[in-house]
């Protein structure tokens, strides 16, 4: 008896027990409710999420998401989750800074306050304009922490600028975060540094759980106005040949295997889609495509968002090369090929006939027919 009471965490120890029935009460309908037809709507619909309001925050934790096409990425959700961890530990609020074009529901992602800024005039180098404004914002609200996503061009650049201007030594490549300590990768991933969370943190994917199951207030605060630094002028995007970009950078790859013999259609399709060309080992061995286009264990390991495989059976070495692809479409005559098992959309057809049909279709669609 005494043993059992010892095992149970006590209130004053600070340990919060999870209520094992909370899931049922919050969203999953009871069997009786389902039978009687009065089941609650699913918890994914925002209507039933419990509202969280923090009126008098003891601290402010700023999070600056990267956004992609005005929407939060998976890393951004982890980032706001990490800010939530730091804010909740000091009864604080999470302040998210986004451009005014952001259309995502920031309240469901865990934002208590939102500061928006108008996209600066054309020609302004965004990072150079935004960093001093963020420093000023952090000082105005006395933010205890400022969090960024440690990506190459967006958050990683901005966060390091802010850290340099605040004269802080940031935690970079943070892979795990609690209120007491931040775990950062160092020495090219061989070692880890464990330190108290500093004022500026640059976090990687998986650093914290994204916020689900609650709707935060997302109250709008006064807008941020950006200056226009004149020393660096943004001249805009440069047109690039998408099929010539290195495979490791490509967004969409069209790849050929031994089942492809109609190379004109293949090249035409890649050009129409604006995709980079890839190949399996067999194709490169035959000399049909150059060696630097080979994907797989002995070629490139790629991570595009989309991968179109034509006539590739999917040897294990090739599948290693595309292990981190987001979406795979495979066209193959053999429905049992490993590539067809891997694919998100598998089409059993002859690649020779599908490639010209698809190229024609894309051409018609691009012309606006």
């Amino acid at each position: 008896m005494s043993r059992r009471s010892e095992r149970r965490p006590r209130r004053e120890s600070g340990v919060v027990r999870r209520d094992p029935r909370s899931e049922r009460t919050s969203g999953v309908p009871s069997a009786a409710a389902v039978r009687s037809g009065t089941a609650l709507p699913s918890p994914a619909s925002p209507a039933v999420l419990p509202q969280v309001t923090i009126e008098q925050p003891q601290a402010i934790v700023m999070a600056v998401p990267d956004l992609e096409r005005g929407r939060l990425t998976a890393l951004d959700r982890d980032l706001i989750g990490a800010a939530r961890v730091l804010a909740d530990a000091q009864r604080g609020a999470v302040l998210v800074v986004v451009p005014s074009s952001c259309a995502d529901d920031l309240g469901c992602a865990g934002a208590d306050r939102v500061v928006r800024y108008e996209a600066p005039a054309a020609g302004t180098h965004l990072a150079a304009a935004l960093a001093p404004a963020l420093v000023e914002l952090a000082q105005r609200y006395q933010a205890s922490h400022v969090l960024f996503a440690d990506t190459l061009t967006a958050g990683g650049d901005l966060g390091r600028r802010v850290a340099a201007q605040l004269d802080e030594r940031p935690a970079v490549r943070a892979i795990a975060l609690t209120a007491r300590e931040a775990v950062c990768r160092s020495d090219a991933g061989r070692r880890e540094i464990v330190r108290a969370p500093p004022r500026v943190l640059l976090v990687e994917a998986g650093c914290a759980e994204p916020v689900t199951g609650a709707r935060h207030q997302a109250g709008a605060l006064p807008e941020l106005t950006l200056g226009t630094p004149a020393a660096v002028i943004d001249l805009g995007a440069v047109a690039v040949d998408r099929s010539a970009v290195p495979l490791v950078e490509a967004e969409l790859i069209v790849s050929a295997g031994a089942g492809v013999s109609d190379w004109n259609s293949f090249h035409r399709l890649a050009a129409q889609l604006g995709a980079a060309e890839g190949a399996s080992r067999v194709v490169c061995d035959q000399g049909c495509l150059p060696r630097d286009r080979q994907i797989g264990a002995s070629g490139w390991v790629v991570e595009p968002r989309g991968y179109l495989a034509f006539g590739i059976s999917g040897a294990p070495q090739h599948l290693q090369g595309i292990a981190r692809c987001d979406r795979v479409v495979a066209v193959n005559c053999d429905p049992h090929a490993p590539m067809m098992q891997r694919a998100d959309l598998a089409i059993v057809a002859d690649a020779q006939q599908v490639m010209p049909a698809l190229a024609d279709l894309v051409e018609r669609e691009k012309r606006g027919a």
Binding site: D241, L345, V362, G368
Partner: protein, 274 residues
């Protein structure tokens, strides 16, 4: 003549772990060597002047390499003082080191200290009038042009052109000039790089996050946490136009393609190798 400083560090061979030239710093040096009208290049390393891996940089065609002789520690002060004296128009550096904390903060701290502009992730630089035109790499193969006033600090990442090979003869002939950090004006020496309250440990493999679902039957929830191989749809017995239509619709739904004419008027004209 344009003065270009390149900050070089010692890297680690990915397989053998031996000291070699750092990949990104070598690319930064490659950008400097590729400047058309022949810039005056100041190659700078802070650390041990006897390090053999520094010869890899000399083998790329450098005549001389300056080493600020310092033991392990924070060398930002020494580098800032050295650069303030040199006053280079362009400073190039790899975006992060291959050893130690590798926070990538050094270029930012130096730029802030020297009051120069900073452009991250540069893939090319050309002097243009009183400034420089810099091409910056964006994710997924995109490129952006920027016009920067001098002095400017550029960080270089994987998208920059690959570094040339290192020639053995040139590596032997190049000269390494060592400067003691203590002899630089206003620098007392290096401070320890790692504060006492940081703990270091070997990296651990992190568990992969499972996407759990709250709803559904027990078997559905169990299936949702198992690794997914064949998540996708499988289409049989389609004629080629139908298959093409299915692929196109899938690409549109996933945001991988856009219907309608391309919005960028320039995208029709193809420019190679930018």
């Amino acid at each position: 003549m344009l003065d270009v400083a390149v900050l070089l560090s010692v890297g680690r061979h990915p397989a053998s772990g031996r000291a070699v030239r750092a990949e990104l710093d070598a690319r930064a040096l490659e950008l400097a060597l590729g400047l058309a009208d022949g810039a005056r290049i100041h190659a700078i390393h802070a650390g041990d002047p006897g390090e053999l891996a520094l010869r890899d940089y000399l083998g790329m065609g450098l005549a001389e390499l300056t080493v600020l002789a310092a033991r392990d520690g924070d060398v930002a002060d020494a580098l800032a003082a050295h650069l303030a004296r040199l006053r280079p128009a362009v400073v190039l550096a790899g975006s992060r080191a291959e050893r130690g904390e590798a926070s990538g903060m050094l270029p930012y701290r130096l730029a802030h200290r020297l009051g120069s502009q900073l452009i991250a992730n540069a893939v090319s630089v050309t002097p243009l009038g009183a400034g420089a035109r810099v091409i910056q790499a964006l994710p997924r193969g995109g490129r952006r042009a920027l016009q920067a006033a001098l002095p400017v600090m550029l960080t270089v990442d994987r998208a920059a052109p690959a570094a040339r090979m290192s020639a053995y003869g040139a590596a032997r002939l190049g000269r390494i000039r060592a400067i003691a950090v203590e002899s630089i004006e206003g620098v007392a020496g290096t401070v320890p790089a790692v504060p006492a309250d940081w703990r270091e440990r070997p990296a651990r493999v992190r568990p992969r996050r499972l996407r759990t679902m709250v709803q559904g039957s027990a078997s559905e929830r169990l299936r949702s946490i198992q690794p997914v191989h064949a998540s996708g749809a499988r289409l049989l017995d389609l004629d080629p136009p139908q298959a093409a239509r299915a692929i196109w619709q899938y690409l549109l739904d996933e945001g991988l393609a856009e219907a309608g004419p391309p919005s960028d008027p320039e995208s029709g004209s193809v420019r190679r190798g930018v």
